[in-house]
Amino acid sequence: MTAARLPLPTVLLSAGLLLSVLCLASLLLGAGDVGIGPSLAALFGGGDDDARFVVFELRGLRTELAVLVGVALGAGGLLLQAATRNPLAEPGLLGVSAGASFAVVVAISLGASAGTLSLAVAVLGAMVGCVLVLLVTQLRGVGDDPVRLVLAGAAFTGLLTALSSLLLLQDQRTADEVRFWVIGALAGRSPDTVSWSLPGLILGLLVVLPLVRPLAALTLGERVASGLGHHPQLTRLATLLAVALLVGTATAAAGPIGFVGLVVPFLARRLVGSDVRRGLGVAILLGPCVVLAADILSRLLVRPYELPVGVVTAFVGAPILIAVVRSHRLPSL
């Protein structure tokens, strides 16, 4: 266990500050013609009708979504890493996100319309993904090797992604609909997305609360944790349930967005060390920062068009994955 590198209050405060700045930037910057000046004016009640619409409806909605998805993926990633004791465990890499989006795709092709139902289905799919992760970690020679676990996850993700594409193509969907369930995006989600996905996020975080202490004990090793009166297997199962809730919610809301669950815990560890309690607070603030930053980039890179945010997170996240794997000693959790 590495020692804390920075005092927690300082980190939380600066992360909170960064989050506010990024939220503001997310309202002010976009692929359209409404620039910073008119956006500011609209924000303070002025501006024309179009500017107000762009700032409050379009950018406002995706900012809310980015925060929601960021909290879910940041916390989900950190928890998954703690539960598997693997610094590379990431919902997108281990097939949890792919499980969620595959489940939604199956539901769609069976005739379900998106919305509330897709949340439940996505959580269910994420759960199946989590159970598979759990089973793989029990395998000898795979579970205790971080890189092998990721490889197993990548194979699983590849399989599910291919199946999703296949189903959507069979169903005569347009390529862009296919793309949404393979690479997530924040743009163009219906306005009620936030209201139906918020309960999923809150429920997930509620499940996490009583788990923080046992999870912290788990990092000391199973025996010590048992000795302290915790139940390691139960803790793991409950944690994976929380991960499924969080990642399922994020995926139903914005499609699979990779690497956020890897980058955020990585940054959190760098800042406050590997303690779960400290890390979770930081991850909940940093998750939205990462998603917001990626989303802002996705709007500015190819104006007047946009990239799906999942493409941007992959661009930033993949090099970090390689850096973590290549660093000589993987931090043990």
């Binding site: 976009g30 692929a31 359209g32 013609d33 409404v34 179009d50 619409f53 762009v54 409806e57 379009l58 950018r59 069979q170 005569q172 347009t174 862009d176 609909e177 949404f180 995006a185 743009a187 163009g188 989600r189 219906s190 306005p191 709007r299 190819v302 104006r303 007047p304 068009y305 946009e306 799906p308």
Partner: protein, 302 residues
């Protein structure tokens, strides 16, 4: 005796000369995208690869024996289904099935302008293959004429094109002046605008309808997915919403869920028309042209 023999000789010579000129008339060389193609006689077993090739064949009274599933679908494009009747499917636009084509033993293959060279080389081993020169930006009438030559029906093609030209001229008279139209494909992340240089754009231009600005700028068949913030750039007096989904109303319903869409001028004025995307965004030809003109007439004049 010798007189009779020479008479026979002369008449044989005359007959053979006559035959060879006839043959010569039926033998024709086309300039295809990958070089000249020489054809003889009227083809009996035609395989039409692509919606526009199928459109050309059917409108020229040729019943092809095989064709491809249309883009984004798994069958003959709907607007051609009745005319095509019971026709063998030999793959998709992306992946024609060479074995299935060989099984049909075609004597002519007509393909779309996008057919890659490698595929052309293989298809040419099965039967003479005609790939018109140019791209989907090419004047559709030129591509149509190339197919007609391949099928040995150049005169009928001229008549068909004259019919369209006459209908366009007539319709143009009745259409309101200076209307701008935008041809858009909708998807949940935002729409993309179809280029004005495609088949439909050519027809709309001939009708005196002005294209959307983005549609004239793009150098590809369509723009990228437009940011919802820029949706106003897809606006026009009329929006034709092309959808590959057979249920156009459903697609329109989906689009209306997006607040940015309902703010468009054309939507507010109830001037959004959902049209068959197989015709409006991927096909071309005589039958497609008639349908496009029907759609425009119905939308702007009724």
């Amino acid at each position: 005796m010798s007189q009779r023999r020479s008479l026979l000789r002369y008449s044989l010579l005359a007959i053979s000369l006559l035959f060879s000129t006839l043959l010569h008339a039926a033998e024709r060389t086309l300039e295809g995208a990958y070089g000249p193609v020489t054809l003889e006689g009227a083809p009996q077993r035609v395989v039409a690869l692509g919606d526009n090739a199928l459109d050309a064949a059917l409108s020229l009274e040729v019943q092809p024996v095989g064709t491809l599933a249309s883009r984004g679908g798994d069958d003959v494009p709907e607007y051609l289904a009745a005319k095509a009747g019971d026709i063998a499917l030999v793959g998709t636009v992306r992946e024609p099935n060479l074995e299935a084509i060989l099984m049909l033993q075609p004597d002519l293959i007509i393909a779309s302008t996008e057919l890659p060279r490698a595929l052309y080389d293989k298809l040419s081993l099965i039967a003479p293959t005609v790939v018109p020169e140019g791209s989907s930006f090419q004047d559709w009438r030129r591509i149509y004429r190339t197919y007609a030559q391949a099928l040995g029906k150049p005169d009928l093609a001229d008549r068909r094109i004259a019919e369209i030209d006459a209908r366009v001229a007539e319709l143009r008279q009745r259409l309101p002046d200076g209307q701008q139209v935008s041809v858009v494909r909708w998807n949940p992340q935002g729409p993309f605008v179809m280029s004005s240089q495609l088949f439909v754009g050519q027809l709309l231009d001939a009708l005196g309808l002005k294209p959307n600005e983005l549609a004239t700028q793009t150098k590809r068949p369509h723009t990228d997915i437009l940011s919802l913030e820029n949706l106003a750039k897809a606006d026009a007096d009329w929006i034709f919403l092309a959808t590959l989904n057979p249920d156009g109303e459903k697609a329109l319903e989906a689009a209306r869920q997006q607040p940015a869409f309902t703010r468009l001028g054309a939507v507010k004025n109830d001037r959004v028309v959902s049209v068959d995307g197989q015709i409006w965004s991927s096909s071309s030809g005589y039958l497609a042209a008639q349908q496009v003109l029907d759609d425009v007439e119905q939308a702007l004049l009724d």
